[in-house]
């Protein structure tokens, strides 16, 4: 559905006008690693998900920090407090794997297609501009992921 040609003109323009505001990066780091069956994988989502009872996301500082999603979280634990109203939530409401495929990732690990699943996953709310404001928290997260021996991160939008 998110082929720009398929969208109404006003929505297409809204998405395209953001392109010039996106940062350009000088470096192009390319990190190699072991084959997939030996990778330890974490999910980092920008869907504004968190465990019920955690601080909701919001504007300002409340929207910049990440939330921790334990690897043993189950579907009933997660709620969404993303500030945007311009994406579908009915899919997540019906099945969390539409936005946060932890069940699928665990199945791949069980089948030996990926090595293992991280002990912790993380969630941001991807509505802050410019996106470079996330950099300090992203660097912090990279250190935490390394502590968890993660060597592959799946970044998932919403």
């Amino acid at each position: 559905m998110v082929r720009l040609a398929d969208l109404p003109g006003w929505e297409r323009e809204n998405l395209l006008k953001r392109v010039p505001t996106l940062p350009r990066f000088d470096g192009r780091p390319w990190v190699r690693g072991p084959a997939l069956p030996r990778r330890r994988v974490a999910i980092v989502t920008t869907a504004g998900l968190h465990v019920r009872g955690d601080r909701p996301f919001g504007s300002g500082a409340a929207g910049m920090d990440y939330r921790i999603i334990p690897g043993d979280a189950v579907a009933g634990d997660l709620v969404m407090s993303h500030v945007s109203v311009n994406f579908d939530r009915s899919g997540f409401q019906a099945d969390w794997n539409v936005a946060f495929p932890l069940d699928r990732l665990k199945e791949l690990a069980r089948d030996g297609i990926v090595g293992s699943v991280a002990a912790f996953h993380y969630s941001f709310m991807g509505a802050v501009s410019p996106v470079t404001n996330y950099e300090p928290k992203a660097r912090e997260l990279a250190g935490l992921l390394k502590q968890d021996r993660v060597d592959a991160v799946l970044l998932s939008p919403v």
Partner: protein, 238 residues
């Protein structure tokens, strides 16, 4: 740290040029395609993870399949709601209609929670009747105190509105008939007291001197797609 990602807006990903990205032709909000189709979700996930095995990049690969048809809202087999669903309440003020409508939907939301084994409610910590009462009081009285310490009026209202909408969406999804996301959105904004109340709250936020309410007036209460339709509809009265 090696990363791979799913991309929903290809043009944004092209501009950012991350190391590895799988562009998918799915609607915003559904990066893994469709609910309750584990095989499809697994295929998308694996396609993204396989990019980790590429020798060089950056690479943006296009996922070749559209999302399967979504049966969201098909009546759960073996589960029957004990009452027929009445239409929108027509008596009383908009605030009273909102409270009555929320009560009417309770049996459907109960059914949805049983069917799915979960609910996505719980961000505000309010029970649904308290949530409805909180929002109803916004329509008729000065702003009520936020339901949690440390929240601004705007932040509390935003969380409450999003949670009430989730309640409606979850309840509607199990009513007889097929209710895809567009149909549920259309129903919510055009056929419910809640949708009308949200539009009224947006107007209230626009007129308020409270800066915490400004985001609700311009972007974070009424979706752009709905806003475009509402431009031809006069503001609702409360």
């Amino acid at each position: 740290m090696a990363t791979t990602q799913v991309s929903l807006v290809r043009e944004h990903t092209e501009a950012l040029a991350p190391p590895r990205a799988l562009w998918v032709p799915f609607m915003l909000g559904r990066p893994f395609g469709v609910p309750h189709d584990a095989a499809f979700q697994r295929d998308v996930l694996l396609a993204a993870l396989r990019l980790l095995e590429r020798d060089g990049g950056p690479v943006i690969e296009d996922y070749p399949h559209d999302a399967p048809h979504d049966d969201l809202g098909a009546e759960p087999e073996g589960l029957a709601c004990p009452v027929s669903f009445p239409g929108r309440p027509s008596q009383g003020t908009l605030a009273e209609q909102l409270v009555a409508e929320v009560a009417q939907l309770a049996v459907w939301h109960d059914l949805a929670a049983r069917h799915r084994g979960r609910t996505t409610l719980g961000v505000t910590g309010l029970e649904i009747d308290a949530l409805a009462g909180y929002l109803a009081s916004w329509l008729t009285e000065p702003p009520p105190a936020p339901f949690r310490t440390g929240l601004s009026n705007g932040a509390a209202l935003k969380l409450a509105c999003d949670e009430l909408k989730a309640y409606y969406y979850e309840a509607k999804s199990v009513q007889p008939g097929r209710h895809g996301s567009a149909a549920i959105q259309g129903w919510f904004w055009h056929d419910t007291a809640a949708g009308q109340a949200f539009v009224a709250l947006r107007e209230k936020a626009a007129c308020s001197a409270d800066p915490s309410l400004k985001p609700l007036a311009v972007q974070s209460l009424v979706p752009r797609a709905v806003e475009m339709n509402l431009k031809t509809v006069p503001p609702a009265s409360t």
